[in-house]
Amino acid sequence: MSIHLHQLAAALYLLAGLVAWTGMALRSARLERGSVWLLAGAALAHLGAFATLHSLEPPPPLTDLPAAVSFMACAGTIFFLAMLRRLRLDGLTVLVAPAAFVGAFFAALQLPEAEPAVVAGSGSWPHAHVLLASMGLAFLGVSGMAGMLFLAEHRRIKAKRPIDAGFPLPTLEALDLANRVSLAVGFPLLTLGVIAGMIWVQKSQGVVWSGSVHEIWSVIAWTVYAVLAGARFGASQGSRQAAASAVGGFAFLCFAVIGVGLLT
C-alpha cells in the first residue's frame, strides 16, 4: 500500500511539475493554479504513504537513504504549501514540484528493497536525527530554490527584459522573504538533526564522534550553513548575495549528505 501511495505521490509531483512548466510556456495563470492544487494532492498522497508505512508492524525506520530523501521531499512540499498561504510564490512550483518528484520517485524505486540499518539500543534517536535533519534539509532546499528564482528574476529586471512568463512570477521581495524564512527555520532544524545524530552515535557506539565519512561531511556542511546564516542575519547580507549563498549552500549540502551517502 505504502509503495503504491509513494508511486501515486511521485506521479502527481511529476504531473504538477509538467503542468507548472506548461503553464509557464503557454503563459496560463489557470495552469499555474492547477499545478499548485496537484502539488497539494501529491503532498497528501505522500503523507498517506508515510502514515501507511508507520502502521506496519513493526514500523520500518526512516534511517535508510530512500525513506529519508522521500520524507525530505514531503516535508519541503508541505513547508512550501504553508508559505503559499502568506506569500504569492505559486510560480516557484516550477522548481518545487520536479524536486519533490525526484525525492518521491527515488523512494518509490528503492523502498521495497531497502535494508534499514537499525542500531540496537539507540531508542528514538535515529528517528529524531532523520526527521529533524530531513526537515532542515528540505527547508534549506526551498530556500535554495527561492534563491535560484530570485537570481533569475533579479538578472531579468536588471537587464530590463520584459517578463518571460504569462503568469506573474513571485516578486523579488516574496522570494527573498521565502529564502529568509526557510533559512531561519531550516538551519535550527539541521542543527538539531546534527545533535540528534551525535547522540545516536554516542548511544550506539559509546562515543560522540566516530569519524565516519557521513559525520565529517555533515559537520562541514553544517559549518558552511552556520557561516551563511551568520552572514544573512548577523552581517546584513544583501538579497542577491543571500540568494546566491542559498543556492550554493544547498548544492553543497546535497553533496555532503546525499551525494557522499550514495558514493560511500
Binding site: R27, L87, R88, E153, I157, K158, K160, P162, I163, G166, P168, L169, T171, L172, E173, A174, L177, S236, Q237, G238, S239, R240, Q241, A242
Partner: protein, 429 residues
C-alpha cells in the same frame, strides 16, 4: 433590412474635428434619427477617439443621406461649422457584414488607439444603454451590441491582448509589482516634478502606495506638490537619508549633472539592509547615473527603458490581435446566422396560422355533428392541438436551422409552396 454604420475615428479624423463632433447627450440625436421613416433602430458611440452612428434601415440610400446630414448638421456644435469636404475626407461607412464586424472590433478594443485598452467596452455599453433607454435600439441592434459585449469578453479571456501595460506609467507600476510584494507598505520619494512623473506616481498610488515624500530644489514647489499628494516636503540637502528610508524613487528634475550618483546611493544603501530600491528616472537629461543599476539592490529604469518596454508590450498586443481577429470572425458568423434566421419567422408564423385555422375549422365542423359535454370537448381540443404541434415540430425546427444559412432559402420557398402560403397571401392581397 440593412445595417449601416457611418463614423470617424482617431485614424481618419484629427482631434480637433473629433472634438467638434463629440456628442455629450446622444439621446436627442437618436430620437431624431428613429423618428425618420427610413431608420428603424440607431445607436451612437461618441468617445474621445471616435464618433460613430450605426442604424438599421429598410432604405439604404435614404439612410446614408440622413446619416451624412446628421453628421454635418446635428452633431457639429452650432458655433463651429464643419464643411462637407472636411467630413467626406474623414467619414467611413460600413454596411451589413462589415458594419457588424466593425461593432464587434470596436467593443473588443481592436480598433482602439491603444489596442486592448479596457475603457471602450464600458463606453460601448453606455452607448447601447442610452439607445435602449430612449427607444432607439431595438431587437437587431440590441442583439448586435449584446453579441459585441460577449465577443469582447471572449477576446479578453482567450487572448493576452490586455495583459501587458502599454503606457509608461503602467509599465513603471508593473515593474514595481515585480519587485515588491505589497506596495501599500512601501514609501516613495518624488524628486522634481513634471507630467510624466506625476502620472507614474498617480498609477503607483492607485495600486496601493500611500506613503509619499517630495523633495525639490525650491521649498515652495516641494510644499505645493506635497500638499497635492498628501506628502511631506523636503529639500535636496538630506537626499541620502531620504533615499535610505524609501523603496521607490521617482526623479525628474532639471540640471545637466546626475543627482543620483553611485557615491550618494552607496551611502544611502549602507543603512538599508539590502532592501531593494526601485529608481524611475524620467528626467531628460537623465538625473540618475546609469552606473547605479550595477549596485545590487538598485533597479534603475529611465524614460527610454520604460518606453521601450511599453513598445514591446504594444507589439505583443498587436500580435495577439491576430488571434482576436479570428474570434471576431467566428462571432460575426454566429450573428450573421442569427440575423439570417430571422427571415424564417414570417414563414413559420404564417404556417402556424394556416394550420391552426384548419384545425379550428375542422374541429368546429366535427363538434356540430356530435354532442359532447365540456370535459369531452376540452379533451378533443387538446388532442387536435397536440396532433398539430407534433406534426409541425419537425418542419418548423428544420426551417429554423436551415434559415441560418444562405442556401436555407430553398427550404423556406418549398414550405411556402407545399403549404400554399404564397397563394393564400395573394388571395388575401
Amino acid at each position: 433590412m440593412r445595417i449601416v454604420l457611418l463614423g470617424m475615428n482617431h485614424r481618419t479624423a484629427p482631434l480637433d474635428l473629433r472634438e467638434r463632433l463629440a456628442v455629450h447627450d446622444p439621446a436627442p440625436v437618436l430620437q431624431k434619427l428613429v423618428a425618420c421613416d427610413e431608420i428603424d433602430e440607431a445607436v451612437l458611440i461618441s468617445t474621445c477617439n471616435r464618433v460613430e452612428v450605426v442604424v438599421v434601415t429598410r432604405s439604404y440610400d435614404a439612410a446614408r443621406l440622413r446619416l451624412r446630414s446628421i453628421f454635418a448638421r446635428e452633431l457639429a456644435s452650432d458655433s463651429i461649422e464643419v464643411s462637407t469636404s472636411e467630413l467626406d475626407a474623414c467619414l467611413y461607412e460600413h454596411v451589413d457584414g462589415d458594419a457588424m464586424r466593425h461593432v464587434l472590433r470596436v467593443a473588443s478594443s481592436l480598433d482602439s488607439m491603444v489596442v486592448g485598452e479596457p475603457q471602450i467596452l464600458g463606453q460601448t455599453k453606455d452607448a447601447c444603454r442610452v439607445a435602449t433607454e430612449c427607444g432607439a435600439a431595438g431587437p437587431i441592434l440590441g442583439r448586435l451590441f449584446q453579441h459585441a459585449f460577449a465577443t469582447a469578453k471572449r477576446v479578453r479571456s482567450e487572448t493576452r491582448i490586455a495583459e501587458r501595460p502599454v503606457s509608461v506609467a503602467r509599465v513603471a507600476v508593473d515593474l514595481a509589482r515585480q519587485i515588491f510584494e505589497n506596495l501599500a507598505d512601501k514609501q516613495a520619494l518624488l524628486i522634481g516634478a513634471g507630467e510624466m512623473i506625476e502620472l507614474a506616481l498617480e498609477s503607483l498610488r492607485k495600486h496601493g502606495l500611500e506613503s509619499i515624500r517630495v523633495a525639490n530644489r525650491t521649498p515652495e514647489r516641494a510644499q505645493e506638490l506635497a500638499a497635492r499628494f498628501g506628502a511631506t516636503a523636503h529639500g535636496l540637502d538630506g537626499l541620502t537619508e531620504l533615499i535610505a528610508e524609501v523603496d521607490v524613487v521617482l526623479i525628474s528634475i532639471g540640471g545637466d549633472d546626475p543627482i543620483l550618483t553611485v557615491e550618494l546611493l552607496e551611502r544611502a544603501l549602507a543603512s538599508r539592509w539590502g532592501r531593494p530600491l526601485f529608481v524611475i528616472d524620467i528626467g531628460v537629461p537623465r538625473n540618475a547615473d546609469p552606473a547605479i543599476n550595477k549596485l545590487d539592490p538598485v533597479y534603475l529604469y529611465d524614460i527610454d527603458d520604460l518606453a521601450s518596454l511599453a513598445r514591446k508590450n504594444a507589439d505583443e498586443r498587436q500580435r495577439e490581435g491576430v488571434l482576436a481577429e479570428s474570434i471576431i470572425e467566428e462571432q460575426h458568423q454566429r450573428f450573421e446566422g442569427w440575423l439570417t434566421a430571422l427571415r424564417a419567422i414570417p414563414t413559420i408564423k404564417h404556417l402556424r396560422e394556416r394550420v391552426e385555422s384548419i384545425r379550428v375549422d375542422e374541429l368546429e365542423r366535427a363538434l356540430r355533428r356530435i354532442s359532447l359535454d365540456d370535459d369531452q370537448r376540452e379533451a378533443v381540443e387538446a388532442l387536435t392541438k397536440s396532433i398539430v404541434n407534433k406534426i409541425l415540430h419537425a418542419p418548423v425546427s428544420k426551417l429554423r436551422r436551415e434559415a441560418e444559412h444562405e442556401e436555407g432559402i430553398v427550404y423556406l420557398e418549398a414550405a411556402r409552396a407545399l403549404f400554399g402560403l404564397d397563394d393564400e397571401t395573394s388571395d388575401e392581397e
